[in-house]
Symmetry: D2
């Protein structure tokens, strides 16, 4: 199925579900800080496997524990449904477990 | 610092701290089952980075979500302190967060 | 397209094109020796990307510069056309440049 | 051994040996175009292994087959001997085989 270009209204409607992503320079944008380079590059490898299987690849920058990702779709010259699908998969890779907020437990994870 | 060969008594004393590892055919051995291939190979990449930095590499087998790892040290013809260090790092990679058992919460992670 | 189980006659006919591969224990089998762990794991990462995109994964073993790969197809309980496609892609990854045979030059690469 | 900051004169003297690298914004800079994403990310994985073992990491950007790398050394606030060592290793990874110049052959590889 070819990528479908999203209108500004569609993007605005979808953004709240794409936790942590915003539109910067016409691309879906998010920055992650990992524990160290090993964690960052391990996550990048998982994203690479997912992206290659989708045949939809990120623009990304890394230095040590930091990973900056921009998503857009060349074939539609904008942001497509594919970008939101990949953004969601990237979130699952970088944030597999949401922090637990336990009242009174004194420790999270 | 060169690897130090461990005696059977030393290995027996250290094993309880190396959660999930046992001695099989004279090697530290553990098997992991991940969510899928993407998770398994992402973890393998993290182990590869750690192993290359230690210059101490695993013998390992993978098929889809399964990763089987054997550790020993050629230079000492046996199990060394390096193997236990790597085993510990591998555990941290494959099991970053122990499951929380919260009384009455009805859900873990 | 689902994987298609190959008969023994079909496998025998295809094997000569799959350079370096043989049938061992009912699987396509090949062993590679790379320059070092970095080269071996770099090639494994390329194979992982290709395999995930095909949704067809190898059984493989690695220690330092050595990579041992077995291919078969669970869904058909045997060797399928997918295994030969993956074997060919693996060859291209591990052996990117065929040796040059230059008359009189006395050296290839 | 800690990284050693290089003077402008030292950098100018070393640059001719670092094939393809130039100084951009105070960092060693080079851009590579690979065959495709699989080749690019396979090479990035090899660089990641080398960088983690050196504990000296690149700033890098990737989109599909393109890899842009900047090297400098935070601890010395400039370019150090480590950057030139890593640049050389990166060249060996991305350009494993120098082009053959065969008299009269009219083609390399």
């Amino acid at each position: 199925m070819p990528a479908k270009k999203l209108s500004d209204a569609e993007i605005t409607a979808l953004l709240p579900k794409a936790k942590g992503w915003s539109v910067v320079n016409g691309k879906l944008h998010r920055e992650f800080a990992c524990k160290d380079f090993v964690a960052a590059f391990g996550n990048m490898t998982r994203v690479a496997l997912v992206a290659e299987a989708m045949n939809h690849h990120p623009e990304w920058f890394n230095v040590w524990n930091k990973v900056v990702i921009d998503l857009n779709t060349h074939s539609v010259k904008g942001i497509s449904d594919y970008d939101f699908v990949l953004a969601e998969k990237i979130n699952e890779i970088f944030e597999p477990l949401p922090p637990l907020h336990l009242p009174g437990s004194g420790k999270g994870q």
